[in-house]
């Protein structure tokens, strides 16, 4: 995926971009609300301890919420696969729930659970859930019709169909959903903290925003972006390791 030579041009472009920014800062042409790359780097380095202090709970919530979402998505996917008539209902419910703004759900969750870890986990899980679920559903529908007929002719039980046919075919699609949702988990943790928390990267960002602390905010956002990208790349790596390649050569007749 990341080919050394092909990365040269975009890396070069990125560096040029950053250099231009730095130059603008050097001649004081940068608006007050923008921080130069060097300032960001320095900001991150200086506040490393503080940033980690806030990053830790965020990462915890993000990871836990993500795993919960995966579990729920696969479980509901299995249910819909086995009991097909449930699908339109589940889809409608899912799409509409997806349309309800998180900022409406958040206050309800606060009333219900208080400003607790569970509340934050719930928000994170809800935000990651839909893309994973959609991709599981799509993947479970991907086996060719003859494969489904094969399993009918073999008199396989619904769970056997799910385990031996549905899930393996669904795996590539599942990974698409997993990749999309990984950064969303980080986002979910941030939103959860904006809803109510004492500690966390979201709290850090908000406080920097209200306090007009430009460098701190840019540093925090940089860290948020970095962990989002890292989460995405981690899932990509996991995908590479999990899905074994089928052989390519044709052997004979």
């Amino acid at each position: 995926m990341i080919d050394g030579r092909r990365a040269l041009l975009p890396a070069g472009a990125m560096l040029a971009f950053l250099a231009a920014f730095q130059l603008a800062a050097a001649v004081n042409m940068l608006p007050a609300t923008l921080a130069s790359p060097l300032q960001i780097a320095k900001g991150v380095a200086d506040s490393a301890d503080l940033l980690w202090f806030h990053l830790e709970p965020t990462l915890l919530v993000a990871a836990t919420g993500y795993l919960l979402a995966v579990a729920i998505a696969i479980a509901v996917g299995a249910l819909v696969y086995v009991v097909k008539p449930l699908e339109p209902m589940v889809m409608t419910v899912g799409t509409v729930l997806d349309s309800i703004p998180m900022i409406a759900i958040a206050p309800v969750l606060v009333i219900w659970m208080g400003l607790t870890l569970q509340m934050r986990l719930t928000i994170t899980t809800i935000i990651c859930l839909f893309p994973i679920f959609i991709s599981v559903l799509q993947g479970l529908k991907s086996p060719p019709p003859t494969a489904e007929e094969l399993f009918v002719s073999l008199a396989a039980s619904p769970m056997q169909r799910f385990r031996l046919l549905g899930m393996p075919y669904a795996l590539p699609y599942l990974f698409v959903g997993l990749k999309i949702s990984a950064p969303l988990a980080i986002l979910g943790a941030l939103i959860a903290e904006w809803t109510g928390a004492e500690r966390g990267l979201g709290v850090y960002l908000l406080s920097a925003m209200f306090g007009m602390r430009v460098v701190a905010l840019w540093s925090g956002v940089f860290v948020a972006c970095a962990i989002s990208v890292s989460a995405y790349l981690l899932v990509c790596l996991f995908e590479r390791l999990s899905i074994a390649d089928a052989g390519q050569r044709e052997i004979g007749s």
């Binding site: 975009p10 409608t92 509409v96 349309s99 703004p101 925003m209």
Partner: protein, 263 residues
């Protein structure tokens, strides 16, 4: 069975789709309303916390002007943001088609940036653009930009090699090829990209308002929550869900229209 398939009017598909989805939505709301009512009565949830659907509707009616004003603000910001991002996205897509170098340099960066949820950057946008409508527009524009740009690029690249060779052999210039071939081919892809972007754009606008205080639906929800006016909060939630759903349905319908038309 006879071979001739009746030709449908181009907009029939779109109209049918819209009608179907609105019906489904209404049905869902009715079911939800019933469950809500039943649950509230059964569990004896205090009315101030979870008012009955009727109370909510009445509140909506009473505060109609205020809710509609907020909705108008949010929708306007969303559309403005999407319009801006569309212009920039298409312009960039054309530039990337024109220059392979630029494409190889910047596309990987854009793909990488796309993995970051733009809402996470919202505090930064608010810092830069202040607390007015500009930050809502900015967040929406940022969010939709990547999706639309990549969709436009894919669309521009979609004509087959044969068609492009044809244009080349006719001596067509870059812009002629662009306008006569690439744009028409790209339109369905563009609408698909719009659809994907539209799905969350209203919610993002509301989100920016929630954080920054711009006078839209997001802010209204926060306000009514903080003064414990729960009926109004729920009324606003209902409105925003409906608005988001309708907006999404609109893009779906437009996509259907364009697909049917191009057939």
């Amino acid at each position: 069975m006879s071979g001739i398939v009746a030709r449908r009017r181009p907009y029939a598909g779109a109209v049918q789709l819209t009608a179907q989805r609105m019906l489904n939505f209404l049905a869902f709301l009715l079911v939800l309303g019933t469950i809500w009512f039943a649950a509230a009565t059964f569990f004896q949830i205090p009315a101030y916390l979870l008012p009955t659907p009727i109370t909510v509707l009445r509140t909506l009616d009473e505060n109609f002007a205020e809710v509609v004003r907020a909705a108008a603000f949010t929708v306007a910001c969303t559309m403005a943001g999407m319009a801006i991002s569309m212009v920039i996205a298409i312009a960039l897509a054309v530039a990337f088609i024109a220059s392979d170098r630029a494409s190889r340099a910047f596309i990987p960066i854009i793909i990488l940036i796309r993995t970051v949820p733009m809402i996470a950057v919202a505090p930064l946008i608010i810092l830069i653009f202040g607390r007015g409508p500009a930050n809502s527009i900015g967040v929406v524009a940022l969010l939709t930009f990547f999706q639309i740009m990549l969709a436009a690029k894919r669309g521009f690249l979609s004509p087959s090699a044969n068609v492009l060779e044809l244009m080349h052999s006719c001596g067509a210039t870059f812009w002629q090829t662009q306008l006569k071939i690439r744009v028409p081919f790209a339109i369905p892809y563009l609408f698909t990209g719009l659809r994907i972007a539209a799905g969350s754009s209203i919610l993002c606008a509301m989100f920016a308002e929630w954080l920054s205080g711009a006078p839209g639906l997001g802010m209204l929800i926060l306000e009514s929550y903080s003064v414990q006016n729960f009926p109004l909060m729920w009324a606003t939630v209902l409105t925003s869900t409906t608005a988001a759903f309708m907006f999404f349905t609109l893009t779906l319908a437009m996509e259907q229209l364009v697909t049917d038309w191009s057939r």
